[in-house]
């Protein structure tokens, strides 16, 4: 499959996401924020980083990039979209996902290996996992605290839109330990931790993150 990885000004983990896409057995297609062009890809990854320096609010300025108009439209049609870290923030700012991400409760950037539980294994990005499976991937963020009002949180839990949850230790003050959520349809997933840094034994925190990049094929074959 062809998976697009968008580069915004200030994207950092775009090369890593491309590598993970390749290691996952798919073709990585570089997409540029300034073009209204998804180059015929089957799915899109919005990578991590500090797009526009994270100035104003994380993702607030990138959301208005030309390419995002296309991503929003494609997502509404059902195209799989994965936002990692800064990409998650952009998806929330674009209103493709509910809630928002705020400064970590301890107010520091944190980089660590984080244990997660995959809560939902029926999205196109998580079908390689079992529901309830526990994995360890890299987490690194300064503004990763997931917040939404109580009603929204209850709805997310009720509808099964919580995709991943922090285990052992909540690293950023996210409400209900939420590490990732999806939209109602399940095709758009936002994740604060970085599965693309857990695809090789040599670098990062092991290979537990690979499933996010192999799921798509399985989803299609299934």
């Amino acid at each position: 499959m062809k998976i697009g990885v968008v580069t915004f000004p200030g994207s950092l983990d775009d090369v890593d996401a491309q590598r993970a896409v390749r290691i996952g057995g798919n073709e990585a297609v570089a997409l540029w924020h300034g073009e209204h062009d998804l180059k015929g890809v089957d799915a899109v990854v919005l990578p991590g980083g500090f797009s526009y320096g994270d100035y104003l609010r994380c993702g607030a300025i990138s959301r208005f990039s030309p390419v995002m108009a296309e991503v929003v439209e494609a997502a509404q049609r059902g195209m799989p979209v994965l936002g990692i870290c800064n990409g998650f923030q952009i998806l929330c700012e674009s209103h493709l996902l509910p809630g928002a991400l705020i400064r970590n409760d301890h107010r520091k950037f944190v980089c660590r290996d984080q244990r997660l539980r995959i809560e939902r294994a029926d999205t196109p990005w998580t079908s390689a996992y079992e529901a309830g499976q526990e994995i360890t991937v890299v987490l690194k963020n300064g503004e990763g605290g997931y917040v939404a009002d109580e009603a929204t949180l209850d709805r997310l839990e009720g509808e099964g839109q919580v995709v991943a949850r922090y285990l052992d230790h909540n690293p950023n003050g996210s409400l209900r330990d939420i590490a990732g959520v999806s939209n109602e349809r399940g095709n758009v997933v936002g994740l604060m931790p970085h599965p693309e840094h857990a695809v090789e034994d040599l670098t990062g925190s092991g290979t537990d993150g690979l499933g996010f990049f192999t799921s798509l094929v399985e989803a299609v074959l299934a």
Binding site: L56, R57, A60, I61, F64, C92, E93, P98, G99, A100, I102, R103, N104, D105, H106, R107, G145, V147, A148, D149, G173, L175
Partner: protein, 87 residues
């Protein structure tokens, strides 16, 4: 040139880690009598020409779409006023 100020504050029900940290630090620095602190953002916009109602409405739209995130923040728009104590 006129100055329009947009204040953006976290909604009361939303956690404000920065405000909380300030609140926690005050007594350690010997300050008492502050019951709560919220930290938000202040934008000073220099706009060309006079500040008409239209300009204010335009700024309100900027505030709503770009400067604030309505999920977690409220905003206020005003024409700059002078302050009481200046550093």
């Amino acid at each position: 040139m006129s100055r329009v100020v947009v204040d953006v504050m976290p909604k009361p029900e939303i956690l404000d880690p920065q405000g909380k940290a300030v609140l926690g630090a005050l007594p350690r620095l010997g300050f008492s009598g502050v019951a709560d602190v919220r930290q938000g953002k202040r934008f000073e916009l220099e706009v060309e020409g006079e500040v008409t109602d239209e300009v204010l409405a335009e700024v309100a739209r900027m505030a709503e779409t770009l400067l604030s995130n309505p999920v977690i923040e409220n905003f206020t728009v005003r024409v700059e006023e002078t302050a009481e104590v200046q550093a």
